[in-house]
Symmetry: C2
Subunit: 417 residues, 2 copies
């Protein structure tokens, strides 16, 4: 029964995607502005729905961080509305001519950016993701099936109601942005099997969601996994700059994927740099865990275990290791890193190049903080997440990364000999 | 035991990939030319191994087509050698600056093409694929694990011996091009689970191989599925051109994925066009299967069943359907097609554009044959296959499609506020 329902939702999304992909940029932008307007005028209904979700969440004993993510207020609704208006203003990611080839036989080959088709987005507690994803998908010409978390069910449904109303007003099939009301896990499994209807799955949430989706999906997945991010302070580093960068990468917002988790210090500067660093980290409340060499310099700190090197703390904890030279730093990162964001601080250009070439990460930062791995900081305007995949998209996933390409080959009767 | 062996092969490939990605283009090209030279000088050993494979294959009763693909002779070895020399001459796919952004805070962001890492290629009977894949992978800086078919085991091993010798002579770890001697299917399953070591799987073979690999793989798969390719002859078509294109798309090489399987004819020109077409198809030995409308015009031809519309014949059979207008043609293709290669023949530019925008295929052909969906015909020089995926690569997979990108962000001490 629920399989049939999921299949129908997916089929309707597929049909809607065919029409959506043919809309002009003006029509898509008008639809997004309409969504913003409708959400603003439906604010009361959305806040009422959210209060019910909050009541249940409090009763269920959700922790403060989760409640904070779930809670909506007028300011957050305003931010949602502004977010949609910003998306409407961004350049059109569709129809870009990525390449043009003229062949000796007179064929003209154009490589054009086109929508991916139908996206399935599975996300967790924050209800503003509903509006954000709807905006990004309509902008990029993709139909989307949204499947939010159980605890935000009423808030998401209310926001989706506004979106559906806005689409209908513009004559767009509401199936272009579908919402799965069911919070049954079985239904997610049903959806993940519909590779004939759904083109790409994007999970947005914690590691356990990523793992479940990757394991069960018959559809290609665009995912972001852990960010085990490193900063390597080279022997030729400007040490004052290095301390500033490390402090920022670790402590400015420790709970996010592009925060630094491990510091690697080059042996010749370790004795000078580490006490300097420890002082600043202490002031920021950061616990240090060090290798044997680090412990010799910073007396009394805890030992880092093998497990520390591959842990994403997402907390005010930093593991520290002394390594001898850039090659040893690269070796550590290739062994323990997650190919997300890794930085080098060095005044030596050739060392920086050696590091960047050999470190196999989506983003390498030279003399700046790993915290810059972010769609907004890259000037993309809006992002869906940070991909740690190698196929398709790496790093920030913005509007362009929600497109694929199509070859249009034009001739005048050419046949193959 | 075999899991441990597979894991070791994959780990060694991963280590080799780190070094391979740092080699200059000259070094990679020299290695490929060395492989060509070594294969040429080892021709006798390779032919001897192939004779043993052929003997067993004949005894096992393989059909003529399979034997043809398996058989090597001096000419085929020469073609392999020339193929490698051609790859060495192609432009370097690595280190291309795909984008450059300067941010208001002074950060310089470069998007650079880099290798994917470690590829696992699982292929079927043709032993020349061994040399071809090795060349494409070394050129694109990727380490590769080759797993060929059981029937070509000795031929593949002999070709791989030459490759390994050539790599060693240039000081490159032979693990950069690894070869799995085992033909045990369990070992493939072991490899498909090693997502920590292997970055991408590329199956090259028939539909059953594709399905098995997609179902079992924990690693992202770059695959080519069926080519259910259509040609739509519009009411505004040049009918003489249309016949020529259809004949080529169907009959020039019917056993390949970009051959036409279904012809869609616009109602107003059906009565005029179909008899003309039938005559030419008869001359080429093509069996026609038609919808009711087609059968009214072409008396005595077989009826096309629902199943025909979604069948990749790979044979001299063509299903024919009369549709009313471009929208109906698009609807048929979206329902039954495989998003591979679809063509329109029309002198009407706006009809062509409507078709191309709405047909969700990797390659759309306007007034030319679907048979042009091919890396060589696109000027790529060499190809790994034709992707029907939407993530990462669509259409021909050449050297560029064997790369991903990395962001290099350069600063002078910037931190995030």
């Amino acid at each position: 029964m629920s399989l049939i329902l999921m299949k129908r939702i997916a089929q309707e999304a597929k049909d809607a995607s065919a029409r959506l992909s043919c809309l002009s940029a003006d029509d898509r932008n008008a639809a997004i502005r309409g969504m913003a307007k409708q959400i603003a005028s439906d604010a009361d209904a959305i806040l009422t729905a959210n209060r019910l979700d909050m009541r249940d969440a409090e009763r269920a004993g959700l922790n403060a961080a989760m409640l904070g993510r779930l809670r909506l207020d007028e300011k957050k609704i305003e931010a949602m509305v502004r977010g949609l208006e910003t998306i409407a203003k961004l350049p059109d990611p569709l129809g870009r001519e990525l390449e043009k080839i003229v062949r000796p036989n007179g064929l003209h080959i154009k490589k054009i950016s086109v929508p991916l088709g139908v996206l399935l987005i599975i996300y967790e507690s924050r209800p503003n993701v509903t509006a954000d994803c709807a905006g990004l998908c309509v902008k990029s010409g993709n139909a989307v099936i949204l499947r939010g978390g159980r605890e935000a069910a009423r808030s998401n449904a209310a926001i989706h109601d506004s979106i559906a109303t806005a689409l209908k007003k513009r004559g767009i099939a509401p199936a272009a942005v579908s919402f799965v009301e069911s919070t049954d896990r079985k239904d997610v499994e049903h959806l993940l099997a519909l590779s004939g209807e759904i083109d790409v799955v994007i999970p947005r949430g914690g590691p356990s969601l990523m793992k479940t989706v990757s394991a069960k999906s018959k559809i290609p997945v665009l995912k972001h996994l852990d960010g085990i991010c490193h900063t390597f302070v080279d022997r030729d580093a400007d040490l004052a700059m290095a301390v500033r960068i490390c402090e920022n990468a670790k402590a400015q917002n420790p709970g996010v994927c592009n925060a630094m988790e491990t510091l690697l210090v080059d042996k010749p500067v370790a004795a000078k740099f580490l006490p300097f660093l420890a002082q600043r980290m202490k002031a920021r409340g950061v616990e240090l865990r060090g290798c044997a060499e680090t412990q010799k310099i910073l007396k009394g700190i805890k030992a880092a275990s093998e497990k520390d090197w591959s842990t994403e703390y997402l907390d005010l904890i930093l593991s520290v290791r002394v390594v001898n030279g850039v090659e040893a730093a690269v070796e550590h990162i290739r062994k323990y890193g997650s190919k997300h964001s890794d930085a080098i601080v060095s005044e030596n250009a050739s060392t920086r190049t050696r590091f960047s070439k050999a470190v196999d990460s989506a983003c390498v930062f030279e003399n700046c903080s790993t915290r810059f791995n972010d769609g907004g900081e890259f000037g993309m305007g809006a992002e869906m997440g940070i991909s740690t995949d190698k196929l398709h998209a790496r790093g920030p996933v913005g509007l362009r990364e929600l497109t694929t390409y199509q070859y249009i080959v034009s001739g005048h009767g050419q046949i193959r000999e």
